[in-house]
């Protein structure tokens, strides 16, 4: 039976975030935490594969101990095992350190197929899934909109680009990054909610992973934030006095240049 591992992140609900008008920073206090939407689609895709082909679905997340609550909710949706990577030494990790840590945990846990959400709504980097694939030296397909077939040694997926779609087959094991629109995640259900309180969340700490301290947390994070600011949006206007025919051509040309239309 195949072992599917989904990488999941708990994020603040961005629809509830307000900005402090004085400091310009996000007010995170009192903002509820949710399962990152692209990741939840990945969980649903994994559960559907489990139902269709038979598989186990494991969840790995890195975060503070309160991420346990999210993991219980994933048990309540029917996943098999939840693993929380948590240690003060992992704090302050950027995507580089995060992918190193996740890769170490994945190697320890084992995997046939790794699914990660395309990107998290709090950072929007879309880097952790691809970096993890690189660190494990396995193939990756990003922007997956549909998992078409899970074969013995490969997976067939539809990758969704802005103006086209690609059907790709990747050898297993590999990493897929999923889009939130690809499915309608199932609800929790009452039976699995009850059972989730009898299931253990497995904790992995720094000592469990056998990874160099210089590669994790703040020490392993080359990203340095020097300054944050609110981007000003200014509309630049140009005026042309041309005929309707020419105007239509100019508009079409501009839309093509900006890849808003393709033909």
């Amino acid at each position: 039976m195949k072992k599917i591992v989904v990488l999941v992140k708990q994020v603040p609900d961005s629809t509830e975030i307000r900005v402090d008008k004085v400091t310009g920073t996000l007010i995170r206090a009192g903002v509820p935490s949710i399962i990152n939407p692209d990741d939840l689609a990945g969980v649903e895709a994994a559960l559907q594969l489990k139902e269709k082909y038979g598989a186990t679905v494991d969840i790995i997340t890195m975060g503070p101990p309160q991420a346990t609550e999210m993991l219980k909710e994933l048990y309540a949706r029917g996943v098999d095992n939840c693993i929380l990577i948590t240690d003060r030494k992992f704090a302050g990790a950027d995507t580089c350190a995060t992918s190193s840590t996740l890769a170490a945990a994945l190697e320890k846990n084992g995997f046939d197929l790794i699914i990660a959400g395309r990107q998290a709504i709090d950072g929007d980097t879309a880097q952790v899934g691809p970096q993890t694939a690189e660190r494990l030296n396995i193939p990756q397909v990003t922007y997956v909109d549909e998992i078409i077939d899970l074969k013995e040694n490969s997976v067939v997926v539809k990758k969704s680009l802005e103006d086209s779609e690609e059907i790709l087959e990747a050898n297993l094991p590999c990493v897929l990054t999923t889009l939130s629109g690809m499915n309608e995640p199932r609800y929790m259900n009452c039976n699995d909610i009850v059972d989730s309180f009898n299931k253990e969340v497995k904790i992995l700490t720094f000592d469990d992973l056998g990874i160099e301290e210089s590669k994790v947390g703040l020490a392993g994070s080359p990203t340095k934030v020097h300054h944050t600011f609110t981007k000003e949006v200014s509309a630049q206007t140009e005026t042309f006095n041309v005929s309707a025919q020419e105007a239509a051509e100019m508009i079409a040309k501009t839309l093509k240049e900006k890849q808003i239309i393709t033909k």
Partner: protein, 379 residues
Amino acid sequence: MDFMLTEQQKMMKKLFSEFAEKEVKPLAAEIDEQERFPRENVEKMAACKMLGIPYSREYGGAGADYLSYILAVEELSKKCATTGVVLSAHTSLGTWPIAQFGTEAQKQKYLPDLCTGKKLAAFGLTEPNAGTDAAGQQTTAVKDGDDYILNGTKIFITNAGEADVYIIFAMTDKSQGTRGISAFIVEKGMPGFTVGQHEKKLGIRGSATSELIFNNVRLSKDQLLGQEGKGFKIAMMTLDGGRIGIAAQALGIAQGAIDETVPYVKARKQFGRPIAKFQNTQFQLADMQTKVDAARWLVYDAAMKKEKGLPYSVEAAKAKLFAAEVAMEVTTKAIQLLGGYGYTRDYPVERMFRDAKITEIYEGTSEVQRMVISGAMLK
């Protein structure tokens, strides 16, 4: 009394709240307008294992606690009181008597299908001449060898026609009065069992409410629920639990009306400012929420006493009496705060106001609840 919900109850509430918002709310106005039973909601609830919440896993239930079930009725009723009562009648009135009084064979036969939603349940006690005076049963079940022959008519039955399994009360020995009443499990499709006209109602219009007609329906002795002559006790005990469900429905309707009113008064401007800035609005809202929270304490108290195996008959009566009257008061005030708009079907408070009224009537009128409460005080 400790009403801090457990982590498990909080997770249940989160499920019910999301489910109600995404699945139930979008249909609420339509099923009311069309007087259509929300079969799709039943199927979706079944998928979330919501149809056997407090029953054991052995019989197909979720194995959760009673308050979790009550939270489901409350959350559903915030968006759609019809869906709330479908679940309440199924769980409290139709399924509970089998779980509580059924033989092992009856439990094995009926509970798994009821708890997983393959079948829906209902309860038939009320008759044209036996409403509040439930002891005046005229439906009869006459012994014929090992069988019983059922004749009579039940009215105002929730889930009628939609349900597959009915708990029906009938006189097996008229000379014994209430001690001559017995309970039976009757299945849809049995020869001689038909469903009459759907009632056209003021509220909960999506709920199927009809007459049940029994014309020489032959029941085997295996369909007798509990002992012969114990039916009235079974009915009264079942209604004690049902009342907590209806109290939760009333509570949900009331909170749902407040939830609609708050954003409205913040957005609606008169005299150059949002009506939320007027003290009348503020004081009305404060009174509404205070009463709803008081009702919630009574409802949860009754549910937790039932869960713990403590007596809960009087607590259930208090919860239903108070929550139902609060639901009427709060929905009335909600319409007043929304003014002319609130009186139209463009806003859901009009429906909530109509839905609230039944909670003062069914599963024991408010007057019956007062009889139960004062009876316990004066005995």
